[in-house]
Symmetry: C2
Subunit: 630 residues, 2 copies
């Protein structure tokens, strides 16, 4: 088979690939991550590239218009290399790895500030400097016993253990440093494990990272354990998206051992890039960082750790592991100190992962006398209800619409995403984007505002249909769909109209209905009324903004006193940070994992009725939304 | 450089080596272990081989007589290959790997039989078969949580942990075995660690090994954990002897990292050969065995685990580690199940190693209200004195004379070793050898008898000098030495007279003096009289036999009521077995390691006087040995 050269512009990177390789694969080889929410199936049309020179072969795709095709536009996932090529990659086809916004820090940090007081500062990994007496004739105890005795004076009376590899050259380290050494200790299974011995006092460098691994985004924070503070936050898109946008397609991809390797390598790549970026931004040596604590859903954790995830998608949907062992960072390829510790928040079940347990921890729900609720709106909508006595959780099959997936102009909460929308009487649209740049698409919080505004202006009906008769230059027919133009091509960064279509609205309606009806069904299951819930924490990847009023207006959230709601942003990351800062918080998470009963809401007799009734804006039973006037 | 072929007979093995290679190295390459108590220095003369054909170069050695040299005899460690060679290896030059005697089992077993009752049977590694309920919609807990819950019903409430590598394919194991699996658990740092998951019920195969690693010999036992019994015992010579007979020369050899590797590989080779031999003798699969518990002196443990031992021989003589981590057998290259556990008895200090702690455990000394003593006569003479309240220990620089080292015809307690001697009025010698075969040399217990008989027959004086004037065909002059012929060439297996010389007697006198005076100095240190010691356990590599009466007669042991003495054989191996059979015994050993105070007897003001006074048979102060009449 012949080899061809493919040059990618504007990056200016050239790679050699075999004839018949798809351009997406060639781009990966060139280090360019193309958007591929559909997992390379050729249906989402997000990986468009322009063939400037050379020949490709590709089947005709409905995701590309004839005009575009004539302009040389192809889908990178479908077009195969048939000669040397020159390819131009449009900006919107590249996955963004930028920090979504600085506000993200506030939200990741906000929750912990309060609950942090609940747990003593006792990081899961800590450094202790020892200045030991030198051995003498009357004190010839072994080097390790000498250190153990020194440690017992400085740390609580926990059992100490170490690994063989650590002690092989201990005698050298001790003598070279004149008996002044730094011991790094990890809390592990109720004991203290010595991770490493270093000569001299290295306690000034005590850094660690907290991570939230989402199906869509990976968020990381650099923490200074001496200052007990967050130095920086970084968010990137999960590189696994190249192999499939949802967990099911990734589990299928992982059924081949090589696929599992690739998926693990992809997310480890995310983690290491974030570690590297945060380390260089704050001028620390990542190789000296001593711990990483990670929260993520069950599938993400299995893929990251290369644990067979296949049973997660086979009835009765059982994960292999829900409480993950603490490992050496090097075991997972995480780029901190090779003997640093990597810990993972435990999950409850396939549908209630470590990200949700982490959120429950961060919100202090399991320590509250009051009954509270966490609603995490991500690819699924996970809901946990309870107090210090009991907890119950479920997952609604909400789909990824509020993450911008599966919608004509949907995108993640990244720079250029429309996050706030208002529409005036004359149907003029006012919008704001993340980063204040020209719009590239619409993210979840933008869609919530948009639906609300379109309802208020009667652009859509209560069942979500765009008014075919309305006289507005923003409404038009497109195939079987009607669409409303949110931003005209000239205003955008992508040179095309940004629209919302009938199908998008249907999709969003099902999502909001699934979440609302799950909230109600969960309350019904335990015989509680919504009024008995003293606090509802709303978490999710909405960036820094979510309009609660508008969320109630479209029927996503119950119509109650607004002060009950609190938008907590990425509570999974906040919980991971708490578990990093206090091993008591980590132990609490293990308790929480045991304490949450999982409810399969789909099997509840009244759930389907509830769901059907919710497929209306705000709801079929308008009496439930007294504050909403349409 | 040229390559030559070297053929070893009677083994019939041929190897290729470079010109200038010594024959010892060529023999190792051919898998033939030659005796080398001097560590290949060319002084002990034990590695004699006969050059039948070909040319070697070697400096003239005093260890070979002119007659022998003319017969083609060379020292394998000194003779360099200068052409193709044919070499005959005499039987006595080969290290024996045979079991020393079946009686060894009795002695290794004897002590534990009694003390075993002190500890509940709770082996350090155990297998548990679980028959689990299959997951269902209402029971979708993770595979690992399911197993953990199943285990909690069967084992005590200890914390459970596992390693990442274990769980990666757990879901497969569970489903392939229809939820009937065997979990192997190890007690480790006060918690239970899951070592492995196997499909089906494999508990019928629950085997483990206990080892004593001595400087001279390596002893191993195969234990059936289901039957709670010893299936077999095997003893071999420590292959490290090739690199030096004593710990100091081995530590020097280990100062080069490659040397440390070789020494570790040598003793691991011993362990694996014994494991292999015992496994095939008892038709079990060694690869299924789940644990190895090992006791040995500090240097042996450091070398085995490749831990830098250099400070053991530098003042103030500090070992790197005294409490060794429990590791996977594979980490040390031990040939049981790769995920099996390897545990090591803790030592006190450079001079009181895990072998002694193991002996103290086996003898139940630390649980006794009575004050008792352990005297372990090996390369050093270690002595521990105490009761449940306090313990003190020391090491006498006894030298390896009672192990047969450094003596003209000394040998280890192996087949052909003279172990019992009596001499009648006409100086006729009656002797018995280990294995009942023609004699090849004299071992420790044989020397004790011999000294006693020679004293009684006045062949030697009370200061140990052979009577120059005595009229006997067995006494003759040899260089500066006089010697007594114990067996004439014709009676032996080696075709040479077996003798004891003035220098040997001087050597043995210093050894017995060192041990006796250390016993007394230790008693003086704590202000106790020997009469207050209710039991004295005598341990050591004497094979199955030690004559206490004769030991007192020569002044090796104090002259007290003989029933106070108990010969316990290899108490180190017995303790290792106990620790294997009960993790509570293992924990006890850790307690003992902390509880023994080490006394540097050489620094005691009255020790040197005590020692000098003991350089007489039985003692300068005959009043201390009222039962001895000379």
């Amino acid at each position: 088979m012949r080899e061809f050269r493919v040059l990618f512009k504007p990056q200016g990177r050239e790679v050699s690939v075999l004839q018949g390789t798809d351009i997406m694969t060639a781009a990966v080889k060139a280090g360019i991550m193309l958007a591929a929410p559909c997992g390379g199936e050729g249906v989402c049309g997000k990986c468009r590239v322009i063939v400037d020179k050379g020949k490709v072969s590709a089947e005709v795709s409905h995701a590309i218009s004839d005009v575009d095709r004539q302009a040389g536009i192809v889908l990178a996932c479908q077009a195969l290399v048939e000669s040397d090529l020159e390819i131009t990659v449009p900006g919107e086809s590249v996955e963004s790895h930028e920090c979504l916004s600085h506000d993200a820090e506030d939200f990741a940090g906000g929750v912990t500030l309060r609950s942090e007081e609940a747990f003593r500062f006792s990081p899961i990994v800590r450094k202790v400097c020892l200045e030991l007496l030198k051995p003498a004739a009357e004190d010839s105890t072994s080097d390790l016993d000498r250190i153990t005795a020194g440690l017992k004076e400085k740390v609580e009376g926990l059992r100490l253990s170490t690994k063989l590899a650590n002690v092989k050259h201990l005698s050298e380290v001790l003598r070279e440093s004149d008996y002044r050494i730094t011991v790094t200790l990890a809390y592990k299974d109720g004991a203290l494990e010595i991770l490493s011995f270093e000569p001299g006092d290295t306690t000034a460098s005590s850094f660690a990272f907290a991570f939230d691994i989402g199906t869509t985004t990976v968020a990381g924070q650099l923490i200074d354990l001496n200052k007990k503070s967050v130095l920086g936050t970084k968010i990137a898109f999960n590189k696994q998206a190249m192999y499939g946008s949802d967990v099911i397609s990734r589990i299928i991809y992982a059924s081949d051992p090589e696929g599992l390797e690739r998926l693990s390598a992809a997310v480890i790549g995310n983690i290491n890039e974030i570690i590297g970026d945060l380390a260089s931004a704050h001028r620390i040596n990542a190789g000296e960082a001593c711990a990483v604590v990670t929260a993520g859903n069950m599938t993400m954790m299995h893929l990251l750790l290369k644990i067979d995830p296949s049973n997660i998608r086979k009835a009765p949907y059982v994960p292999t592991v829900s409480v993950f062992p603490v490992i050496n960072a090097a075991e997972a390829g995480i780029g901190i100190s090779p003997r640093g510790a990597a810990a993972f928040l435990p999950g409850v079940s396939t549908y209630i992962g470590g990200d949700i347990v982490s959120g429950v921890l961060a919100c202090g729900m399991a320590d509250s006398d009051n009954t509270t609720m966490l609603v995490d709106i991500g690819t699924n909508g996970e809901i946990v209800l309870g107090n210090r006595e009991w907890m119950i959780g479920t997952a609604a099959s909400a789909g990824p619409a509020f993450e911008g997936s599966g919608l004509a102009c949907g995108m993640k909460a990244a720079p250029g995403a429309i996050q706030k929308v208002s529409i005036d009487k004359n149907f003029e649209v006012e919008l704001s984007t993340i980063g204040g740049v020209p719009p590239r698409g619409i993210c979840g919080s933008g869609y919530i505002d948009l639906l609300c505004q379109m309802l208020k202006r009667r652009i859509i009906s209560k069942d979500g249909r765009i008014d075919r008769g309305m006289d507005s230059g923003r409404i038009r027919k497109n195939g079987a769909n009607y669409e409303f133009i949110v931003a005209f091509a000239g205003e955008t960064a992508i040179g095309r109209d940004i629209v919302i279509q009938d199908d998008d609205i249907e999709n969003l309606k099902r999502s909001k209905g699934a979440i609302y009806s799950a909230i109600i069904a969960l309350l019904n299951k335990v015989g509680k009324d919504i009024s008995e819930v003293k606090k509802i924490y709303i978490a999710g990847g909405f960036g820094s903004y979510l309009n609660i009023e508008n969320s109630v207006f479209i029927g996503l959230l119950p119509d109650i006193e607004r002060s009950v709601y609190e938008f907590v942003g990425n509570s999974s990351l906040a919980g991971a940070r708490m578990a990093l800062m206090s091993h008591e918080a980590f132990d609490k998470a293990v308790e929480i994992h045991k304490g949450i009963t999982y409810l399969d809401i789909g099997a509840e007799p009244d759930y389907m009725d509830e769901y059907i009734a919710s497929l209306f804006f705000p709801h079929t039973d308008i009496g439930r939304f007294p504050s909403v006037r349409l």
